[in-house]
């Protein structure tokens, strides 16, 4: 069974034009996204800033308003649950944000930060201390550091604290929103290894939101590529990286700088022209049409449909599908 199922999710935000009743525009941050995360699986959602990947994660966490569509967790539609039932479901869904510095209260000890979800969800008081030590050991921290404050820890150690806190209630799904982007390069692989080990040991599922494709390729089972609020390509990670079909995925992959100077100038690179269109006024047809190297006249008017090109591999580009 699917652990998390997102069906035709829309998250729209009103934006007021001017200050005095100029009417309002709507930013369609997420505009019809359907995705599933299976048990013990990592689904990576990639895309550039403004594509809606974080908003989608926030909607699952109840941190962004759902305009339309459905989010189901273990087969239960979150919108039909009572507040107390929903609170219980959210114990199963935890989050790790990008910046461990702002994710931790600087005046609180490590122990207090990790214990917070336990306290909120009525964990037996007498067992909290032991559980915090257990969690610290699990993420590779020395439990002797429990009474220190975040300021005394390095960036990598702080991210371990954030991960320990996310795991306190034994969640089934952890939403990782750019969990290593704020860390030094020599620390990133430590944290990625930790996340992969925890998944093996605890059977976790990850919704992994990231922009760094070399990281995603390593950690993900499936990948969804987003552009201006919609998924343009989705499929098994090995497929996407070996045979990207959508022109945007292709451009994204070819834009990654490769750490090999002997390939300089020899690699086929697609450098996209221009910037992301304003999400206030996205193109009417395919959102990628303004920067697409293979766009045709019809792409301007028709919103492309998601088409399965090989088992489990979907793309939203009629030009490429017809080839």
């Amino acid at each position: 069974m699917n652990l998390l199922e997102i069906t035709d999710l829309q998250v729209h935000f009103p934006v007021w034009r001017g200050r005095f009743g100029g009417g309002k525009d709507v930013v369609k941050a997420v505009d019809g996204v359907s995705l599933t995360v299976n048990a013990n699986e990592t689904l990576a959602v990639v895309g550039e800033s403004g594509c809606g990947k974080s908003t989608m994660g926030n909607a699952v966490l109840g941190l962004a308003p759902v305009t339309a569509g459905r989010i189901s967790f273990e087969g239960r539609d979150l919108s039909t649950l009572t507040p107390s039932e929903r609170r219980r479901v959210w114990r199963e869904i935890q989050v790790v944000f990008q910046d461990p510095v702002s994710a931790l209260n600087p005046r609180r000890t490590i122990k207090k930060s990790i214990a917070e979800p336990l306290v909120i969800h009525d964990y037996p008081k007498a067992q909290i201390g032991a559980r915090v030590d257990e969690l610290m050991a699990l993420v590779g921290l020395n439990p002797d550091q429990r009474d220190r404050r975040p300021g005394a820890l390095s960036g990598g150690q702080r991210q371990r604290v954030v991960i320990a806190r996310a795991l306190a209630l034994n969640p089934k799904l952890v939403i990782c929103d750019e969990p290593v982007s704020a860390l030094d390069v020599s620390i990133q692989s430590q944290i990625l290894n930790l996340l992969m080990r925890l998944q093996r040991e605890l059977g976790l599922s990850y919704l992994f939101i990231a922009h760094d494709l070399s990281v995603v390729r390593h950690i993900a089972d499936r990948v969804a590529v987003m552009y201006l609020g919609i998924v343009v390509e989705e499929g098994p990670a090995t497929e996407i990286f070996a045979n990207p079909v959508h022109p945007y995925t292709e451009a994204l992959l070819s834009a990654i700088p490769v750490p090999d100077p002997t390939l300089r100038g020899k690699r086929k690179r697609i450098i996209l022209q221009g910037d992301l269109p304003s999400p206030l006024h996205p193109p009417k047809g395919c959102p990628f049409v303004t920067r697409c190297p293979v766009a045709e006249e019809t792409c301007k008017d028709e919103r492309p449909q998601l088409v399965e090109t090989s088992p489990g591999h979907h793309i939203r580009c009629p030009v490429r599908v017809n080839q």
């Binding site: 550039e48 800033s49 390095s154 960036g155 990598g156 150690q157 030094d184 390069v185 020599s186 620390i187 990133q188 692989s189 430590q190 990625l192 290894n193 992969m196 922009h211 494709l213 070399s214 990281v215 390729r217 390593h218 950690i219 993900a220 990670a237 090995t238 990286f241 451009a251 994204l252 070819s254 834009a255 990654i256 700088p257 490769v258 750490p259 090999d260 100077p261 002997t262 390939l263 300089r264 690179r269 450098i271 996209l272 221009g274 910037d275 992301l276």
Partner: protein, 317 residues
Amino acid sequence: MTLLSVTDLAIDAGPLSLVDGVTLEVAQGEIVALVGESGSGKSLTALSIMGLLGDGLAVTRGSIEFDSTDLTQLSQQDLRALRGEELAMIFQEPVSSLNPLVLVGEQVAESLITHGHATPAEAFFQAIEMLRRVGIPQPERRAAQLPTELSGGMCQRVMIAAALISKPRLLIADEPTTALDVTIQAQILALMAELAADLGTAILLITHDMGVVAELADRVCVMYGGRVVEQGPVGPIFAEPRHPYTRMLLQTIPRMDEPPKEELFAIKGNVPSPRDWPTGCRFRTRCDRPTEACVNRPEVIGDIHSVACFHPDGSQP
């Protein structure tokens, strides 16, 4: 010909040593990458070249020779005359580096006017030409807009235009693409390489991204703990790194040809803060093969490809 020559540079914050004995050279028209993690001293080294060290920070040793003038001996007034004219710098956050209340065109034109090379009207005209050169569509319209009306990638192009309008001989670029999306990063890197070649500008590129280094740099200078640990042409640095830190840094990058889901190579420990630097070789606590010798400070050995290590890779059987 050598344009910039930094020799044995040390920067202290009171009793704390932050940069300790950095020596590096940039030749005319060359792109040199300064690579390191947070606290390695790479940005401080760059700021000291520009004479922009903050309060409480001071150059306590060494020299910074630019075109045979020691910048550390210049008065603030003489430095001002060089900045924006011969030396220019762009920063990581284009949006916060531009003045939100001044028109884009005026900010690009500023250095021409300040240095008395053009009247404001001429300078504005030249600014529009420069904006066109850095690939901004409709430069006439954009020049009359405020930075807030432009995207992040566009703002970085404006920064580059402002930095290059007076055709400086050295451009210092501090993480110029870190805050940008990957497709925009590709555009900006291509633009910097093209302009540097056209104008003959040398670039000191500060970055932590080995991918960016491989795409752009002629030579690489790797810093760790306030010191240069390895320096050399980009080819040998990637193919035959000699310092364990450089080698391990390259090994940590998830490679596209590796099987996924397997454990990644990781450097043990944490990036130490300057207060916790060990004596002797500062990498020895994280190194995979330290010896007793490493409690002493390693000398820099080698010439074109130099390394500061008692047991560099490739030296033993």
